[in-house]
Chain length 343, copies 4
């Protein structure tokens, strides 16, 4: 059994991570921290029935564990990681702090200097389907952002294949459930403000995930690509559906679908839907899958991809456990639901 | 035109009140205050298009207006009212501060001494259908709570008629939209916490509205009555549906429906539904009506009443304007939608 | 491996049942029928990824299986069961056709004569926590209705203990998700008709589940009891929350909670919440548990119980598999999620 | 008072139209038809309180009225119009039957021959802000589709100005409330199928509204333009939010916003939001406005427009009454809410 510590277990992602790890055959949670709720159990703060006690980070002893998951805000995550990292400790960071290899890019998008750039350069970007080899040997993995996951699984293989050679800008129109905004009390997540509405925010290229998308996509394509990204908060709790518009691939939808189907044939967690069927949240709700639909926009040269994930699982806690499995050489599906969608 | 000041215009009730008054043929808003948003317009803080500027209460001059609406938290309301009241100024208070005539009852349920008990005793309880005469002459009207409105319109006439003589406890099972919790950022109103759930809270006789319900019902019945009250937060924005169980009336549902229909025959804002049709929010959404359905529970002696209002209108801002109309001897429907429900 | 046939697999309950059985270590689905969708797979009709092919009932061979689940409308279920039953075949019926032992009661509430009354009298009512012994030896189990499950788990032990001796009527105010109405296209389940509303229907004692509630409760109490039942369709997909009002038990909430906690101490699927915490759907969503909260209504003699289940699992498919486990002497939790609630 | 007949009054659009016309100072409803619900009132079929009786179309006498609104399915609408039209009768058709001037285009997109092409060529496309002059003199007006309204108000002025000269394809990503699918009972509109999901459908250029969009946009631009259109059914009842991506305009967002602001300066029902604020449904819910936000996608040459309407009002019944007002030379805002959005 791998001994595990979780920093920041009282958010939506933390809860999901605890749930998954409690069902993981090779994992044992040694501690779970929360500054806000230390001294209480998860069941005190969620209607979940899980009697795991939360402690202050200061009370946790990272030397007692083999692996750490950090579900902390960016900046806070790298502070904690800077303090606890040691040779042999595997760290999966769910914040943005290890999503870039280049400290300058991190600084550009997050506005602060990276505290431990020497670790940054040795970390891996934790999207298993595209960077499995790097993840295997890494001591620190930066778990991808939820929005970038929907884009990169859909378009990454095309970029790597050179099929985006003629494109300048990829358009990503994303609708996210409200759990993506975190569990902090705020007017922006008030039920009444979202109910019966759909709220575009940080349009254009102003959302920080644009940096992550462009960096990874550019590195795969070997050239600069821009992402026109429109995040929208939609009236549901979980899930992201992105509609992605690709001009100038010079390929038909069938060719794109064929490439993706080939790439993901052996992947347990990515499904290319047949016959132009559109992705929807039903396929991926509560599981670790990404569903991809590929669609022709006849007569325009545009190929449309619909991409859906559960933002808390494939977009966060599930992907983190998938990375954990790779880092420890367990079956990649251990503890994870590769299964079917749910109503 | 009656000149109007609004204290506390930046909540859901305040917005609704502004909307109604902007369409009122005899009202002119002179000022609207907000401590949080002073210096900004309503359109800055809601997607509403209303360019009304909000000011600090300290900048408002109450001598410039003929009537004041206070949409402030309890305690704050009576502080403001204590400061601004003067002979001739009509005040409609939407907080709980003037819902009791007896300072001891106020203290019992709200835990603080009333600051201006001499005004309390001269105020009226602002449920027009039951207390119209008192409202007419009052300088201060305490606008009813939203939950009590659903109960009192349903059961008040029975209490007044002596039909609750055999009853000890009235059971009120209420489902409220989230706007009832106000616009303050809080975890309790986070979209994800409410979505796909229904949340009982303050069960038994612990919600403060129990005091208001029991006081008014008792005064109508001429005897003590208890209310077993189960408020539940439900996944919609507006409206309250209460199911009310009456044992021991010794009357059939048809008799109860007949009594209510007679009482409300000339009332523009209360509808007794025919043939045991159940109340639902569709009937009352965005209007100032209360819909009542009366139902037999065969063989049990229980009569069930379903009662629905829009909590922000008949349960708050609409009732306030109805009281305003009565106090100024305007048509009681002036500015108010007595009309049909909406999908 | 027990070989299993499912009749009626294309509804919400059927899908849930298939999901559970696919994860069951001792079950193997041999056939699944659907008259509407025969020839297609579950994945064709739900976004679920399950490539199980549906066949016509006429094409299914019941002699190939050891156990059958019938997810058919009432009447249709007993027709099918009349045709396929044989010594040794275990049948779990999710319709209402085997919820009564007495054909006269069935006729009274369902308006038709029972087709196979000789099997009815040998069947068991499939609420494991209260009727486990009868289920063990039965060849046919009538799986309980979803609403009755919320009531009977909450109140059954009190009835059995004689604590309802003074009561005449139990009040059950239930809010159900829309999946409870089935998957048939109808105006009543149209998104727009339900959204932002809550819809009481079949009030009083007119819903058929009243018959089931009163029959089982009466048999446990050894005397006639009436149930005033108010079902309400609420704007969510899954789950039922019932608020249950008990007068005249002569016991405090603490005594009631103590009795229930004692009864269910060893039960994996019923949780009595501590400290008067209210049941909510979060506790039971997607698992096979029933959560019970017990609440004092001070000064009234009323005890309030809040009772929550996932209507498709503990209220249907999960309970059915629990019964299957008992009938085959498997671990009662096999294949079932006894675990935690989910956001 | 203008005498009015409504064909097809029992759908969501019909109900909305009746509501608006009941509040219109110069309109009097003489008859309202429904084949399904003839003999019943609107209040029988909606919780609306409107006691307007519905009759069979065969019982309606079109010679008694001055104006007719047809809220019928396409094909049925032109059959009815072919039967009732006469010199002087003003007809506003809310189906697709009069949205094209060219019968060949109608045939291409709707798959049937137009029954009365001679009337088609004399009809006007009823988008007041762009085609007011044509509407004034027309006897038949084809009310625009809901999705095209969001696009054409956003992009029409640019097309007319020649700013789309470099563009080949306009991308329109639209999220629609479920009322847009009509009130017919169907699995596609079942609450459970849509709740917590977002459903792309008829992607690419396969939705019929593409024909309308491309025809009108092409006529304004004086050249062929293609529309890549992604309609998505979202979990709310009312409203459409479209995000529209324009490449190659050669203009900045500020220039585009300036052009639109100039065009719509005197328009009561179109608002260009300031400072790149995004459109959302809150601005337009229950009123006849279109809200437009204009956004820079820095460094890409793409201008993004967010466009929101209430699909049942500005996208249907409200636009129809606006057309009616123009045709009868009434104030264009008569009976219509030009006002503020609502929570």
């Amino acid at each position: 059994m791998v001994k595990i510590g979780i920093y920041g277990a009282s958010g939506y992602t933390g809860l999901e991570l605890v749930r998954i790890l409690l069902g993981h055959p090779q994992a044992e949670i040694v501690f779970a921290t929360s500054e806000t709720y230390a001294g209480r159990t998860l069941n005190d703060i969620f209607p979940c029935g899980i009697e795991l006690e939360l402690i202050h980070a200061a009370e946790a002893d990272p030397r007692e564990v083999d692996a750490v998951f950090t579900c902390l805000p960016h900046t806070t995550a790298m502070e904690t990681i800077g303090r606890i990292h040691r040779r042999g400790l595997k760290i999966i960071d769910l914040s943005a702090d290890f999503r870039f290899r280049d400290p300058a890019a991190y600084r550009q998008w997050y506005g602060v200097d990276h505290l431990i750039p020497e670790l940054l350069s040795k970390s891996a970007y934790g999207l298993p389907e595209l960077f499995r080899e790097q993840i295997k040997g890494a001591e620190i993995v930066g778990n991808p952002g939820c929005y970038p996951t929907t884009l990169l699984l859909a378009v990454g293989p095309l970029a790597a294949e050179g099929w985006l050679a003629g494109a300048e800008t990829v358009i990503v129109d994303s609708k996210s459930g409200v759990s993506g905004a975190g569990r902090k009390a705020s007017l922006a997540t008030h039920y009444v403000e979202i109910d019966e509405d759909i709220l575009p925010y940080k349009l254009g290229r102003s959302h920080r995930h644009v940096g992550e998308m462009e960096t990874i996509l550019g590195s795969l394509a070997g050239r600069e690509l821009k992402v026109a990204f429109s995040p929208q908060l939609a009236p549901f709790s979980r899930g992201i559906l992105s509609t992605i518009y690709l001009s100038s691939t010079g390929r038909s939808a069938a060719e794109v679908a064929g490439l993706l189907a080939g790439c993901y044939e052996a992947e347990p967690f990515v499904s290319v839907l047949p016959d132009g069927r559109a992705a929807q949240l039903g396929f991926v709700r509560y599981n670790n899958r990404c569903a991809l639909g590929v669609h022709e926009v006849a007569g325009t040269g545009i190929v449309l991809i619909t991409s859906a994930i559960d933002n808390l699982i494939k977009g966060a806690a599930g992907a983190a456990v998938q990375n954990f499995n790779i880092m420890f050489d367990f079956a990649e599906t251990a503890g994870l639901d590769a299964g079917s969608g749910r109503i």
